[in-house]
């Protein structure tokens, strides 16, 4: 008799299956739950595993992408019917800004405990209006003549698309233009599926030394003990903000992460998602190596560095709003993080199988009108900022008109003549570049333009100086792609 026995996949996993979770592709004993953002789920290797904690560091003071990630986390928890616990003093206000399903498709009825698969009705069939735009664009692209050898290749994709099936109760597609209905939030609060916990408050026994982190841990433990039938999502949108958390020290934060991880391991049906306040997200507060320590004490840690602090970066990468650095990835039951094998965005799996093996892709994020997307970051088709152009693109020609009305696009090539401005452009007294304006303008207008530019420079008029200087300072190039804010 053969000792070989076929493994029955249905019996293989003795893991209790919760609503709104998937079995991890790397290990049958771990369930992944969605963060609400498809591309972030891909980066994490299929989703955030239950019993793991995710920390998002957002060091930029002027943007709020970190708590945008938390809003997605909460929206996904509400849509899946998970038990939610939000720890913040202003959680009620935070809840009002949580996104929801697009108005065009019908919103699903709130999941109650024990109900089966989702009751999402198929509205217009498409997961969101944005995809319609993307499809139209790609169809236009197809009309472009492609060299025959590349015709069979699939289109260049920078991100993973959302699951087209709207019936699946995992990673719902949310629309940033719509808000969660107040009735849904009230109903969730009433039925104890959602609890908003304030950090400030007297502890149960006054003799103990009270601190926000210990009281938060106590609340989390109570929630985890109280609810075992559905997954528990703990969300802390602003860890370390001075109003809610007071004078918190690095040891407090690290001890909190350590204890939270121990709690989540003890009650493996829970998961946590935390955003560090901007002050805590940088090494200036925590000392050098601070984010490394956070990465060691949590399961998954990413840093979203927005470009708003650095205008040159936002000019270099106009299609994105910030960079993503991965510090650590969840690896609850294997030596190698599942993300290394299964993440499309990181690209390690494809590179490892080939000869040699290249590094992983750079990642960035962008926030469009309707959603937050994590993408791979590539340099422009033109090869980056150091390439020298010989023809002014038509869009540049349109924009660079002075107050006098004449086109000074020719001036971009003649920068060598204007050394008086002392600008940092790389062309300095070098060879003259011939510029041919698109649209037929030939030598005479060029000569006139040059004269006029000189006159403009000499006139020292504020606006035209700015306009003359503006093309020089820009080191990135305009392309024919529509601006993402064109609506």
């Amino acid at each position: 008799m053969s000792s070989f026995r076929r493994k029955d996949p249905s019996k293989q996993s003795n893991l209790k299956s919760y609503a709104g979770t998937h079995i991890s592709p790397a290990s049958s004993s771990i369930a992944n739950t969605s963060t609400g953002i498809t591309s972030l789920d891909d980066i994490l290797g299929g989703g955030l595993p239950l019993s793991c904690s995710l920390v998002v560091a957002a060091p930029d003071l002027h943007s709020s992408y970190g708590d945008l990630v938390q809003r997605y986390f909460i929206a996904e928890g509400l849509a899946c019917g998970h038990r939610m616990c939000i720890i913040d003093d202003f959680a009620q206000d935070f809840m009002q800004d949580v996104m929801w399903f697009p108005r065009s498709s019908s919103a699903p009825i709130a999941e109650t405990e024990g109900s089966a698969s989702s009751s999402v009705k198929e509205g217009d069939g498409m997961p969101g209006g944005d995809f319609k735009e993307d499809e139209e664009l790609s169809q236009e692209d197809r009309k472009v003549k492609i060299a025959w050898r590349y015709e069979n290749m699939k289109t260049f994709q920078t991100t993973v698309s959302a699951s087209s099936s709207t019936l699946e109760n995992y990673c719902h597609v949310f629309d940033l233009t719509s808000r969660v209905p107040v009735s849904l939030v009230d109903e969730a609060l009433r039925s104890q599926r959602l609890s908003l916990v304030a950090t400030r408050g007297p502890s149960s026994t006054d003799s103990e030394r009270w601190s926000p982190t210990t009281s938060a841990l106590r609340h989390i433990e109570q929630v985890l003990q109280g609810q075992t039938t559905v997954p528990v999502r703990v969300c802390i949108p602003f860890l370390g903000s001075p109003i809610s958390w007071g004078d918190i020290t690095t040891t407090d934060v690290l001890h909190f992460f350590h204890s939270l991880r121990a709690l989540l391991r003890k009650y493996p049906h829970g998961c946590a998602s935390i955003t560090l306040s901007p002050k805590l997200s940088s090494d200036t507060w925590g000392g050098s190596g601070w984010l490394q320590k956070v990465g060691w004490l949590t399961d998954a840690a990413i840093k979203m560095t927005a470009f708003s602090a650095d205008p040159s970066l936002s000019a270099t990468f106009p299609a994105h709003h910030g960079l993503v650095h991965i510090l650590s990835l969840p690896c609850p039951s294997t030596l190698v993080a599942p993300s290394d094998r299964f993440s499309t965005l990181r690209g390690l799996a494809s590179s490892a199988s080939g000869f040699g093996g290249s590094g992983e892709n750079n990642l960035a994020f962008k926030c469009t009108r309707k959603r937050l997307i994590f993408e791979t970051l590539h340099l422009d088709l033109d090869g980056g900022v150091s390439e020298r152009r010989t023809t002014a693109p038509s869009s540049t020609a349109v924009e660079l008109t002075t107050a006098t009305g004449a086109s000074i696009s020719a001036a971009t090539g003649e920068k060598c003549n204007h050394t008086a401005t002392g600008d940092h452009t790389h062309i300095s007294g070098g060879p003259k570049i011939d510029i041919e304006l698109e649209g037929g303008a030939r030598d005479p207008p060029k000569m006139d333009a040059q004269k006029e530019v000189v006159a403009v420079e000499g006139a020292a008029s504020g606006t035209s100086d700015k306009k003359a200087k503006k093309p020089k300072k820009r080191v990135a190039f305009f392309s024919e792609r529509p601006d993402v804010y064109d609506f």
Partner: protein
């Protein structure tokens, strides 16, 4: 022990790693290798002093037994069985000292537990004590002085019972050696340094390892691996695959 490194038993090995190249796999390799080499005695075996004390003591600052069990099962080792039979003993340091309630936690309680677990006279087959990891203890609130005293006391206790001690330390600033690490390096016999590639993450190579002699090393024939000629490894779920730097034998 620890192939392909030729580290002799009874020594104190300090394993340092970074976030981009964690050394979990080395610790798992030690435990699984030890269990495979010293199978559990059968029921009919004599109950001597050797079987009453655990062979492998794991002092963990991160209570993650589920991961240990999952990884060991991938290597063909039934860890729950060995835990229940007493061959492997887990000690959770953080819960031993009840950090949250004491303003200045001390590691002396943990040390008492460990010294009770080690055999009083050196057994024929050496034990293994693993301290995972020293930096987490410092980060969550133990004083650095307390930690280094604990490590030294542990080293002496292991030396008396001829047990192998392996301690792990995380480096948070690449290239910089802080006070804690300096003191650990003065006590250790060998130093296994696991680092990620300088050029960032790669699909084919996970990191590189170097083996240095510590300050307390006796003159012996252990083959060292210098940083310049370090061994590279690629981490798979079944364990690491080692290869010489710059070659592609059987990996790429």
């Amino acid at each position: 022990m620890l192939p392909p490194f030729d580290i002799p038993a009874g020594s104190f090995t300090l394993v340092t790693d970074e976030l981009a190249a964690p050394a979990d796999f080395l610790i798992h390799q030690v435990v699984n290798g030890y269990i495979k080499e010293h199978p559990r005695p059968g029921r009919g075996a004599q109950v001597g002093e050797e079987s009453s004390s655990p062979k492998v003591v794991i002092l963990s600052a991160n209570a993650d037994i589920a991961k240990w069990k999952a990884v060991s099962s991938k290597h063909g080792v039934n860890l729950p069985l060995h835990i229940s039979s007493g061959v492997v003993k887990f000690v959770d340091i953080a819960s031993q000292c009840s950090l949250s309630e004491v303003s200045e936690p001390r590691l002396s309680a943990t040390f008492d537990v460990v010294s009770g677990l080690l055999p009083s006279k050196a057994p024929t087959s050496g034990n293994v004590v693993i301290l995972d990891d020293v930096s987490t203890l410092e980060w969550i609130g133990f004083s650095p002085l307390d930690i280094i005293r604990f490590v030294r006391a542990l080293r002496i206790a292991c030396h008396k019972s001829k047990s192998t001690l392996i301690a792990r330390y995380h480096i948070t600033i690449p290239g910089e050696i802080d006070n804690q690490l300096t003191q650990l390096l003065t006590v250790c016999t060998y130093h296994l340094d696991v680092r990620p590639l300088y050029s960032g993450r790669s699909g084919a190579v996970t990191g590189e390892i170097a083996l240095h002699r510590g300050a307390a090393a006796p003159p012996d024939d252990v083959k060292l691996i210098r940083r310049s000629g370090s061994l590279q490894y690629r981490l798979l779920d079944t364990g690491p695959v080692y290869f010489q730097k710059g070659t592609s034998e059987g990996v790429l």
